[in-house]
Amino acid sequence: MNTHSADGTLSPRDPLIVALLGNPNTGKSTLFSALAGIATRVGNYPGVTVEEKIGQFTHHNQVIKLIDLPGTYSLFPKSPDETVAVNVLRGQMPGVPLPDCVIVVADATNLERNLYLASQVLEIGLPTVIALTLCDLADEKGIVIDTALLAQRLGCPVVRVIAPTHEGIAALCDNVIAAPATLHPSPITLDRDFAAANTGHSLPAREAMARYAWIERQLSGVITKTPPASRSFDERIDAVLTHRGWGTLIFIATMLLVFTSIFWLATPLMDLISSGMDGLATGVESLLPPGAIRSLIVNGVLAGIGGVVVFLPQIAMLFFFVAILEGCGYLSRAAFLMDRLLYGVGLSGKSFIPLLSSFACAIPGIMAARTIENRRDRLLTILVAPLMSCSARLPVYLLLCGAFVPNVAVGVPWLRLPALVLAAMYAVGVVVAALVALVLTQTVFRGPPQPFVMELPGWRWPRASVVWERVREASWSFLQNAGTLIVAVSIVVWALASYPYSQQLIEAEVDADRQKLVWRLSQYPPTDPDRVEIVDQLASLETADGLEAARRGAAQRQSFLGRAGRFIEPVVKPLGWDWRIGCAAIASFPAREVVLGTLGVIYNLGEIDPGEEDGSTALVRRLRAATWDGTNRKVYTLPVALSIMIFFALCAQCASTLVVIAQETNSWVWPVVAFTYMTLLAWLGAFATYQIGSAFDL
């Protein structure tokens, strides 16, 4: 609280502490941006996962610190959001001084319900100013509000504001600055209504009745609404969009549009970034002498940065769509349509878009969970989002399905088994996610049912400034927070894969490999087709490229990473894997796509990109011919291929995702939980698949 001088005025040097609160969907964020621009401090309030957003601006030489409190419908502390708001308004929030003034944002098209919160704020007794937003929308609807009369009744200023055009902003600031010194809001009288409403209802009901009765009294004569000649625009749109048939169709079409855009439109941009980073890497490679430094920069740092920046198009695109859908009001209709299905597994309709986006990439999906106000639902959504098979898993599925699933027709000639198995992998993710959500709801997240009482806001044009702000903020926070950690992890993995490095030992291993190949050749009868592959491998060892690839493979096998692979071999043997697959699984921790490239290196194909046509067929040939060390028994059978796919379907091999989970939940507990449960499920799933598959002799 600022100290006032003897005559009651504030020294203009001291910043004025102003709290901003209001219902959701009232244009509060637009107002915040119009007043204070971008928030200067964004973090969490101590001890809770409620975002603390503070901005600063100057008006007529007065510095104003604006505290943006979370949107709430009431101050009654039922949730962390409401508790934080009450604590800040009472000056009981550590680190936040008692506000000098409160701005209550009220939606002009919805004044009756909005005044519920205003009535509670006025009771607290702080100097209050009411900002009437969405006035342009109200004008369109023929709603006329007598602000002077309302101000008189409420005992505080009521200022009309159209934030995007800055109309009324100056007047609002004038009133805010003047408020602490000049205004003393009259305490509102609810007592009379309490007694009158004492007709056998519960206490909460009586209080709500009393408040709304008070609101109705204040509003009588204040609002004049010209009754619409025909059904209003809102009604007509809603009749279609929430209609059983049309609504569902439009919904599916919209979701397909969003999903495919993230998938297909973002891909060219991602490729552009990828090739840009590759170009940069090649440039650096040509400039520096070969050695540890060059490898660190190219394979560690640049690869890490590239791995982060490549997500940006998807994140930007998703937030663009979410901001538009939220801004126009469609998001709540989408949640309304999907709620029944999701409620069945313990989630709610609002989880739909985050989960859908996770099919493209879990990172923007998890960030999109910010639209879920309910803390428990949001956390649950974040925890199961990585189970939605993301696009990084697709190359693994495609390669293994194509190479090891028999290409037979199922029922009809155009329906092939590999395609069905591919679809099954996606289905596995969804089914397991549903089960995990159900289990978590019954155990760890057990509690009273969370209400799905959700407002369906009126239709409005999304504001370009708000959309831009959403995209900018999401992209920047991802780059900043997640980016630094992901790069660090990539460097660590690079180090583990590159050291220890001994030229002598590598040559020795390449020689030993050559001996092994010669021995294997002698085991095959001259007419066996697998002989061809072994002859090819021996031949490639005579070429410069082949020798280089063999050396690289040996180097990786001797590195910490390779040793780790051998170390965990007992753990992956029950899954039907040999140590090479285990090694690739460990190496894919930063990003799943790496698994195929790692297998390529381990099988001495050098640094092939498994996406290239030549690369994948070479890898497939090597995999098909691969045998357990010292035997002729094939490693890659159908049960093994299936177990690898199931493992990757359910595992959390994505450091980027885990970092984003930490960022969004403001704690490292949840990424650890996610990694642990998913790895366990992945292991169990792969184990069951392999054992059952082998038993049935697939």
């Binding site: 519960s202 709500a208 009273p448 959700m454 407002e455």
Partner: protein
């Protein structure tokens, strides 16, 4: 005793009482579903749940099990 979830689509009713004093009931009251207010059931989602209501000049959606707490008269 008629509850809100039994009101037909398109029909209106007046709230008599909201049962319970847990956060869900409290939320229903705060959003304006107070005794005496007029509510219209605008529609339902494709699977019959949740309900879309119109009251106090705005639209609200609640689940059937939440609506069952609201006693109404027609």
């Amino acid at each position: 005793m008629l509850s809100l979830q039994e009101v037909a689509v398109g029909a209106s009713a007046r709230v008599r009482d909201v049962a319970g004093s847990d956060p869900t009931s409290l939320r229903l009251l705060e959003m304006g579903l107070t005794p005496g207010v007029k509510v219209r059931v605008v529609g339902t989602a494709p699977l019959g749940d949740p309900l879309e209501l119109e009251l106090r000049g705005y639209r609200l959606s609640i689940r059937r099990n939440e609506a069952s707490r609201v006693a109404v008269t027609q």
